[in-house]
């Protein structure tokens, strides 16, 4: 027996044909990490708020300045990120109940969830009148 265990290797990213279930799986991880960054920012925002009007002014000045457009774009990105992770997270919970593993349905649901997150994001920012 070899000293180093022969662990099973899965083909790396570039060897796979791009498909919907794979995209939604990767997106779940990517949006999870993005939401982590978002939670860090919300926490910093709460600390600035608690520190008083002067400290909070730093955040308001940043928004009013040239970086304001980037912050808005980041917010739109976070809206998609949270929406997708939430919808796909519900799907994960349904999977835990043993439901929803058929190949055709899985593809369709991946597309619906990605589309749903885009629609929610557009709905909040366009219909909500924030942009």
């Amino acid at each position: 027996m070899a000293t180093k265990p022969h662990q099973p290797l899965s083909p790396h990213l570039q060897n796979w044909r791009w498909h919907a279930t794979m995209a939604s799986s990767i997106l779940h991880r990517a949006t999870g990490v993005a939401n982590y960054i978002g939670a860090v920012l919300v926490s910093v925002w709460l600390v600035l708020l608690a520190a008083g009007p002067d400290a909070y002014g730093v955040w308001e000045d940043l928004n009013a300045g040239p970086l304001g457009i980037l912050i808005t774009l980041a917010f739109i990105g976070f809206t998609f990120s949270v929406s997708f992770h939430l919808l796909n997270g519900i799907r994960h919970l349904v999977w835990d109940a043993g439901i929803g593993f058929d190949a055709k349905g899985s593809n369709l649901r991946s597309i619906l969830i990605i589309g749903g997150a885009v629609i929610i994001t557009a709905g909040i920012w366009i219909v909500g009148g924030l942009v």
Binding site: M1, R29, G32, V33, N35, Y36, A39, V40, V42, S43, W45, L46, V47, L49, A50, P53, Y56, G57, E60, V82, L86, G89, I90, H92, L93, D96, I124, G128, L130
Partner: protein, 125 residues
Amino acid sequence: MGDFRTPLARVRGLGSAKSGTGHFIAQRVSAIALVVLMPLFLVMLAKHAGSGYEAAAAFVGSPLGAILTLLAMTAALYHMRLGLQVVVEDYIYKPGTKAALLILNTFVAAGLWIAVLYSVLALAR
């Protein structure tokens, strides 16, 4: 020299650390909480946080705002610590780097939680 150990002896101690089920359940329970809490929290935040310091501070300091913020952020920070732990375990192979990132992940989540807790309570009226 060949390996004279029995197959069972070879695998003992190499498998599960016997804490995976707890992690799995904690991840799901916090997810169920977040399905309800996060939309409520973010909608309220979007409604009140955009119009200046006074409105934002009043919202986070109000009973509903403070409790909702604490519930949502507590569940979120707990859930994301568990989630990023799995991401680090999956992609970082170097033992030292892996341990450092896992510890950092715990420190970031715990540190942010204390900061959020203090901030919300300081604003509460």
